[in-house]
């Protein structure tokens, strides 16, 4: 099955500082903006949730149809890294210093 994923790093004050569209699915024309909408809206949930849990990785906190949003929140909530996926691809981070 075709997969799609959008990966965005968001800094403080909701400023996206990195965006990547990955996945093998044939790109829908408006995929980029739909993903932005979904991830931007998911920040509302992140905002609530980040204070209630000590976990940094918040799995499947929000969904829109078959797109699932998982978030990684860094310490101090300085950055949040969102991804939204079809078909539950594993969320793998490579941290490069």
């Amino acid at each position: 099955m075709a997969t799609t994923a959008c990966f965005i790093i968001v800094s403080r004050n909701d400023i996206p500082i990195y965006e990547a569209e990955v996945g093998s699915a044939t790109k829908r024309e408006d995929a980029a903006q739909l993903h932005q909408f979904i991830l931007h809206a998911a920040l509302d949930i992140v905002q609530d949730l980040a204070w209630t849990t000590s976990a940094m990785f918040l799995k499947a906190i929000d969904r829109f149809n078959d797109l699932v949003v998982s978030v990684y929140v860094t310490a101090g909530h300085i950055l949040s890294i969102c991804g939204c996926f079809i078909d539950g691809i594993k969320f793998v981070f490579l941290f490069l210093s």
Binding site: P16, A32, Q36, F37, A41, A42, I45, D48
Partner: protein, 1120 residues
């Protein structure tokens, strides 16, 4: 909080109430239609009771009193499932109407305002109505008993023939609702007989007679007489019209209920009250008690339960249809459901709940999913009304919702109703977030309904605590898209516009672009082009979008603009981007520039060059008064001269990947006449509005001729950055201010950019910065009277020359104005390279003019040395440059060393007419030379073995050029004390007589010292080169004349070369200078004769030096 007082409670008390079926004859309808009302409509306002106060005793022995009660009246033809398509059409029509009422022009609400207002204020009021209508689309389903008529009201008019028979016929026709005929409900329902008498038809005596007849036939309790249309005075407008809600159905000229006077109203009211309290409620009580007994007998108790379970298990292989098995009214399952619904309607919720629970498991076991879902739904509502176990209530609602959805599309409407009740339940408990999720789940294939649900969901997000604004915005956008799909553009715009305030200022480019682009597009569809353009402008500079999207945005934008046929003027148009920091202003006050390149040279460089020739500033001032005013004014603004262009360079950047065409780029300027008007000089543009006014003012007075502007057309390729060169030429004196730049995008949209306001912003953002002041002042000029201005250039300066190349060039100075200039001075930054010649050189032939004359004329030597000492060349005092007669003056260019050489030349001149604003001006010229190596020259001097005063000189020459062949012409020793001569004949030295590229050559000379007095010679050698001795190296037979190395310009260049080379070692009286003169064998351009001279200075014995440059002095390798 009492559940009955919540919105959902009120809704339930309104919707789940006993239904009364009305069967009436046509004459009854005719009588009521005089009031423009149907009979049902006439009765309906009196069916709702707030204080009926009826004692009720249901299953338990304890009676309770019922206060609120309502009957729902339907004519028999309406008691059927509404047609879904018709209902949809009606809803669509209704939504379109609601959209038309929207105000498209007002500003969308700000998010802070929204947060401060309550739910009812922010939500469009028609949502409530929409939801109600949706709930009604599933009424009269056979799986729910609360919509089944409890009673039947048979109505016959007193004008009807044989009224008794009519009563009987009414119920026996086959026009009864299918519910009764199909066996879904008990056809033996409560019947009530009503005789209607129209008072306009005469006195009610005949009616009374019929009534007695009726009473004897149907029983005295069940019959009643109703007299209507008692108002004899013709149509009247009743006060407090209870039928006002029906007014919208008729034309405004007709008055609803016009023949019904207060007596009629009271009579109807009494009738309905009587019907409710004396007939319907007791009947329901009775039925509840009866059914309860029945249920207790068959289903209650351990034995019955086991039996029931056993019996149902046995039925497991029954048909698995979505509706489950058919249940007739007489089945125990239907009876339990009726019992539950009746108990619910009489508000005995405990009894209702226990029965719903009982039947729920039965339906589940029977896999009668629709009935099961219906019961679950009712259970949820009962839990809610009991205000206990919230969790269970929600669980039941969710279960019902999911079960309806599971059945398939047929039950979609039921799911919708269930969802709407569920949402209300969540809202009542302030669970807005969950409510929003339910709204989202309500979205179905029907896009219009989905749109409304999504919009309601968005408001739920807004109302949740804390408000989820991003979700609010997102769902508004989703909703807008669906509205658009259903061609509800006005609604689409409304939702998108509300979301703008959420997405304002965020950095998520795709979101912003999408919102503004869609709004723009939709406004354009509606023909509201101004607003469309306003929103489209926001998306133009979308550098983050892919190329196709950029093209789409730009194309749509231009289409809209073209459609309007107007020329839009847009402040700070983002296409292209104007780089304000790149703003560069070049203007000419007393400093003028011969070429654009000269203007880019650092001012400090020019200043150091001009130090000697510009009179000190104090000379300009005449008295202290003048001094003050002048200096102040001049400090504030720059000075420019009328008729001379002020050049502005500004960088335009195309943020897109597609090319854009820009035309008519020009500056926006303001020229206030009369520079002494102090107030005008202090006027500053406070904001953009002022700026806009300025623009329009300027446009209106387009015949303004006080200045001229240049217009430039540019085609900017994808992501290209171009520096646009603009000029403004003031024509009259005054105060000129450059305020901004304007351009036309694709010849349809005019963009402006204000230099100043942008500037202010930067200032605010970055705090105080000194440089600001100077920059803003850069754009203000005092225009003074037109002045003569010299234009000058050196004719045909080569870009690339060989080292040692000596050329004669001509400096041409022109004066375009009618006023003459005088007192010319000139200074060159590198006199080693460029030397000013003598006027008489101009016409003589080069290089013949350098040849040694037989009657030598050494006067020029003295001339040049005097001017050289000051480094400033003074033109003869009588030089006056007039209009039309250019001054030509020869200059000598000699490429001293290889490398990249920048030559700066400045010409100072004074106005012949002192009264003009400025006394002097300077002309600055700049040239760049590339000098490549040619001959590499070195000398070795060794003492002659035989004679004390003679030396052997070995000369090594290497031709370092790539292709040029050079003919060595002459070697000269400089200074009188040396005499040079050949050791061998020339032919033996230069068999080929030329040096090919890359060829090297060594030859020997004899140098003889003829020094007499050491002191006198010393003096001469330091002061100026005196006559030296020359050796011709050309072919002997040609007998070419030798060049005079002791006259200008060779002597001058030699002087500088000596000075330069002296730096590295002190002057030694025993040192000797050589000059090798050569000529190219094949000159590149034949028109211009070339001469190469290479100078080797301070050559001496016993000294070691490292070669550093070509043609410089070489000491010999010491022989010792």
């Amino acid at each position: 909080m009492d559940p009955a007082n919540t919105p959902l409670g009120k809704m339930l008390l309104d919707e789940i109430t006993p239904v009364v079926m009305v069967l009436s004859t046509p004459l009854v309808e005719e009588a009521s239609l005089k009031n423009h009302l149907s009979f049902v409509q006439m009765l309906s306002p009196f069916c709702s009771f707030n204080n009926i106060d009826v004692p009720v005793r249901t299953a338990s022995d304890q009676p309770y009193r019922l206060q609120k009660f309502k009957l729902r009246l339907f004519s028999a033809s309406d008691i059927r499932q509404p047609n879904l398509e018709v209902a949809k059409e009606q809803l669509k029509h209704f939504i379109s109407q609601a959209g038309d009422k929207d105000d498209m022009f007002s500003d969308p609400p700000q998010i802070s305002n929204l947060l401060a207002s309550s739910e009812s204020e922010i939500q469009p009021s028609w949502f409530q109505f929409f939801n109600k209508e949706l709930v009604r689309t599933v009424s009269f389903s056979e799986h729910e008993a609360f919509d089944h008529p409890v009673a039947c009201l048979l109505v016959v008019s007193s004008k009807d023939e044989q009224p008794i028979n009519r009563f009987i016929d009414l119920f026996n026709t086959d026009k009864l609702p299918s519910l009764l005929n199909d066996g879904a409900m008990d056809p033996k329902i409560l019947k009530h007989y009503l005789l209607v008498h129209d008072n306009q038809d005469g006195s009610p005596e005949k009616a009374a007679k019929i009534l007695t007849e009726m009473k004897s036939t149907f029983g005295s309790n069940e019959c009643q007489l109703l007299c209507i249309n008692s108002s004899h005075d013709g149509p009247v407008e009743p006060q407090d019209n209870p039928w006002a809600p029906y007014e919208s159905d008729v034309s405004p000229s007709q008055c609803v209920g016009c023949f019904l006077n207060i007596d009629d109203s009271n009579e109807i009211k009494d009738l309905m009250q009587d019907l409710s309290s004396k007939h319907i409620i007791p009947y329901m009580e009775q039925k509840i008690r009866f059914l309860n007994q029945q249920v207790s007998a068959t289903r209650k108790g351990f034995r019955n339960q086991i039996k029931n379970l056993w019996w149902r298990k046995g039925k497991e292989d029954a048909v698995d249809s979505p509706d489950g098995p058919m249940y007739t009214f007489s089945s125990i399952e239907s009876q339990i459901r009726v019992l539950g619904d009746y108990a619910f309607m009489l508000r005995d919720y405990e009894l209702a709940l226990s029965n719903y629970r009982l039947i729920s498991t039965d339906y589940k076991l029977d896999k009668a999913w629709k009935r099961y879902a219906g019961v679950q739904e009712m259970m949820g509502l009962t839990f809610f009304m009991l205000d206990q176990s919230r969790k269970e209530a929600e669980y039941c609602m969710e279960n019902a919702f999911n079960t309806y959805l599971k059945i398939g599309s047929l039950s979609q409407q039921n799911a919708t109703r269930c969802g709407l009740w569920w949402v209300e339940m969540l809202k009542t408990r302030d669970q807005y977030k969950e409510a929003a999720v339910v709204y989202f789940r309500l979205c179905s294939e029907e896009p219009l309904h989905s749109a409304v649900f999504l919009e309601q969901a968005s408001y739920c997000y807004l109302l949740s605590k804390p408000p989820m604004l991003r979700k609010f915005g997102f769902h508004l956008v989703l909703s807008g898209d669906r509205y658009k799909k259903c061609d509800q553009i006005k609604h689409a715009i409304r939702t998108y516009r509300s979301s703008v305030s959420v997405f304002e200022g965020i950095m998520w480019g795709h979101i912003k672009d999408n919102v503004h682009f869609r709004i723009g597009q939709w406004y354009a569809i509606l023909g509201m082009d101004d607003l469309a353009v306003k929103h489209m402008l926001e998306v133009l500079a979308c550098s983050h979008q892919p190329k196709t999207t950029q093209e789409l945005f730009l194309r749509d934008f231009l289409q809209i603009v073209q459609k309007t046929g107007k020329t839009f003027e847009v402040l700070k148009l983002q296409l292209p981007q104007v780089n304000i920091s790149s703003l560069k202003v070049v203007f000419e006050d007393h400093r003028t520039y011969a070429s654009p390149a000269a203007a880019t040279v650092r001012e400090s460089l020019w200043q150091s060059l001009e130090e000697d020739i510009i009179p000190p500033l104090s000379n300009v001032r005449t008295n202290w008064l003048d001094l003050q005013s002048n200096s102040k004014k001049y400090k504030e603004s720059n000075v420019c001269v009328a008729g001379e262009a002020v050049k502005v360079d500004i960088e335009f950047k195309n943020p897109l990947q597609i090319p854009i065409s820009i035309s008519g780029v020009s500056l926006i300027c303001e020229l206030s006449l009369g520079s002494d008007d102090a107030s005008s000089s202090t006027v500053e543009l406070q904001n953009d509005d002022d700026f806009k006014n300025l623009i329009t003012n300027r446009d209106m007075s387009s015949d303004n001729v006080s200045f001229t502007l240049s217009e430039v057309d540019v085609l900017l390729g994808g992501a290209e950055t171009t520096v646009v060169k603009l000029t403004v030429t003031p024509k009259v004196e005054g105060l000129l201010q450059i305020t901004g730049v304007r351009w036309k995008l694709s010849s349809s949209v005019v963009g402006f950019h204000n230099f100043e306001s942008n500037h202010m912003k930067k200032k605010n953002a970055k705090g105080r910065r000194k440089s600001k002041h100077s920059c803003s002042d850069n754009l203000k000029f005092i225009v003074i009277k037109s002045l003569p201005k010299l234009e000058g250039f050196i004719d045909s300066v080569p870009e690339k020359v060989y080292a040692g190349d000596l050329q004669r060039l001509v400096l041409e100075l022109r004066n375009q104005s009618e006023f003459a200039v005088k007192n010319l001075k000139m200074k060159v930054s590198h006199p080693r390279f460029l030397n000013i010649g003598n006027q008489k050189n101009l016409n003589s032939e080069f290089p013949a003019c350098l040849e040694r004359k037989t009657s030598s004329d050494p006067c020029c030597v003295g001339d040049s040395s005097s001017s050289l000492s000051q480094n400033v060349f003074l033109f003869p005092e009588d030089t006056l440059i007039q209009e039309g007669t250019p001054l030509l003056w020869p200059v000598w260019l000699w490429a001293a060393i290889p490398g990249d050489i920048n030559l700066y030349i400045t010409v100072y001149y004074e106005m012949a007419d002192v009264s003009r604003g400025m006394r002097f001006r300077t002309l600055r010229m700049h040239y760049n030379l590339q000098v490549v190596p040619s001959l590499d020259l070195s000398f070795q001097i060794s003492p002659s073995p035989s004679r004390l005063h003679e030396f052997l000189v070995r000369m090594d020459v290497v031709n370092k050029t790539s292709s040029e062949s050079l003919q060595v012409h002459q070697l000269s020793s400089v200074g009188g004390q040396w005499e040079i001569s050949l050791l061998q004949p020339v032919d033996t030295i230069f068999p080929s007589q030329s040096l090919m590229a890359g060829q090297s050559l060594s030859c020997f000379f004899m140098l003889k010292s003829c020094r007499k007095s050491l002191t006198s010679e010393d003096k001469i050698s330091t002061l100026s080169p005196v006559l030296g001795s020359d050796v011709g190296l050309g072919p002997e037979d040609s007998n070419q004349p030798l060049f005079d190395v002791s006259s200008s310009p060779l002597a001058d260049f030699h002087h500088y070369e000596r000075l330069h080379q002296e730096m590295s070692h002190q002057g030694d009286p025993n040192a000797v200078d050589f000059i090798l003169i050569s000529r190219p064998l094949t000159s590149g351009d034949s028109e211009r004769p070339h001469l190469f001279s290479h100078h080797a200075c301070h050559c001496r014995q016993y000294f070691k030096r490292k070669p550093n440059i070509v043609a410089s002095g070489w000491a010999s390798d010491t022989i010792s």
